[in-house]
């Protein structure tokens, strides 16, 4: 497997820059989606003096001097960083700034998708290839040369330092394995109760949500939510067990070239199912995770494929 060879070679292996740049674009799009929906849901006012979010933050982190003004400076910086990452403007600095924002966000809103996006961003900053392809320069070049020519030129750019890609593959693999292991050890999850409680609570609170983020089709409500608890748990048990199995298998299946295409399709399908449970919040996480599958592809094969194109 290329990943072990890359480690054995001291994180030096030729790879096409466009592989990591494509992930950079997907990650930035995921960030902008997240920042966009959070802004619409009042993100700009989270640290207003009379808000519960600021109140809880001050109780939990009395030593961190973040008031509304400083929060809003960070808020603007995160949007600039995500835009910079998308367009390839000072991409490494943008990745670091975005990563720092996510670490800060965890202090007032602990979410696993925030941790994942933050770590992806910080690890991506290790790559020297971030500005090589799919940047604002690519768009400008489209005005002077045919699209195919511009993309072919960018696809031909290669780098040797593959450290960032090794880290990002490791992160996604560890995330899946850790998640599967912890779910397997959780009776709450394996019994189907966790998924039923989750969907049921959000469905029960659907009218209280100021911004409606969840909607479950009537068929799903009839068969999986509004049914006696033992029946619901029995019906949720199958998806719970399937999730654990898939999360254990995916990292290996993604790294093996023969199973890679099937693993990508299966993983994408699994994330569509996750996202259906929590449609808005899980979109950025699913985008970043499925986007990271790009990095599992054997760099030598990617280069050969790009050369063949």
């Amino acid at each position: 497997m290329w990943w072990f060879e890359a480690i054995a070679d001291g994180f030096r292996q030729p790879h096409a820059s466009i592989q990591v740049c494509a992930f950079r674009v997907v990650l930035a799009a995921a960030m902008l989606f997240k920042f966009g929906y959070e802004h619409r849901r009042g993100g700009w006012r989270y640290f207003a003096p009379d808000s519960f979010v600021a109140y809880r933050f001050r109780r939990e982190h009395p030593d961190l001097p973040v008031d509304q003004t400083r929060y809003r400076i960070l808020y603007v910086a995160k949007i600039a960083a995500a835009a910079g990452l998308l367009l390839g403007v000072f991409p490494r600095a943008a990745a670091v700034v975005a990563g720092i924002w996510f670490l800060f966000e965890l202090t007032y809103d602990r979410k696993y998708h925030t941790a994942f996006l933050g770590l992806c961003s910080l690890f991506l900053a290790f790559s020297p290839a971030l500005g090589d392809a799919l940047t604002y320069r690519t768009v400008l070049a489209f005005f002077e040369s045919p699209v195919a020519t511009v993309l072919a030129q960018e696809a031909a750019r290669t780098r040797v330092d593959i450290f960032a890609q090794v880290l990002l593959v490791l992160l996604t693999a560890q995330m899946y394995l850790s998640s599967a292991y912890r779910k397997l050890r959780s009776e709450h999850f394996m019994s189907g109760a966790a998924l039923h409680d989750f969907a049921g609570s959000l469905h029960r609170d659907r009218h209280a949500q100021v911004y409606r983020d969840t909607w479950y089709p009537p068929l799903m409500v009839r068969h999986l939510i509004d049914v006696p608890v033992p029946v619901a748990r029995r019906r949720w048990r199958g998806p719970a067990v399937a999730t654990v199995g898939a999360e254990f298998l995916l990292p290996v299946a993604l790294l093996v070239s023969v199973t890679y295409p099937v693993a990508v399709a299966f993983g994408a399908l699994m994330h569509v199912a996750f996202t259906a449970l929590l449609p808005v919040r899980l979109v950025p996480f699913s985008l970043a995770t499925v986007g990271s599958y790009l990095l599992f592809a054997d760099p030598a094969r990617v280069m050969a494929w790009l050369g063949w194109l």
């Binding site: 001291g10 519960f52 609170d205 983020d213």
Partner: protein, 110 residues
């Protein structure tokens, strides 16, 4: 060469941390227990003027997963910052089951 040493040190430290945090303990960063510990706080509260209190207006959106401590903090916030003394019921749903709590005069009483 110096940079490669930094990369090796970082990689080994990361691997150790991932193994430590990912598979045991409550650690936050690099621990991924998504959906394995689901908790929700279903609130049916009104203030002293009998107006309904909607927690979705105060929490980070889509974050109803409060535990007992956070519920107590929320009730304190309502009293101290908003001047609201809540009453009603709160149902905590988590891995231990369902627990219905009674809230009176801004405090959990049962």
């Amino acid at each position: 060469m110096g940079w490669q040493v930094v990369q090796w040190v970082f990689f080994v430290c990361l691997l150790i941390r991932m193994a430590q945090v990912g598979f045991s303990g409550p650690g936050r960063l690099l621990a991924w227990p998504m959906f394995s510990r689901v908790s929700h706080c279903l609130m049916d509260l009104r203030d002293q003027h009998d107006e309904p209190i909607n927690p979705w207006l105060d929490i980070v959106h889509q974050d109803p997963g409060m535990n007992g401590w956070e519920l107590s903090l929320y009730l304190t916030y309502l009293r101290e910052v908003r001047g609201l003394r809540a009453h009603g019921t709160v149902t905590l749903v988590d891995h231990t089951g369902r627990q219905t709590l009674t809230v009176r005069d801004g405090h959990v009483v049962v």
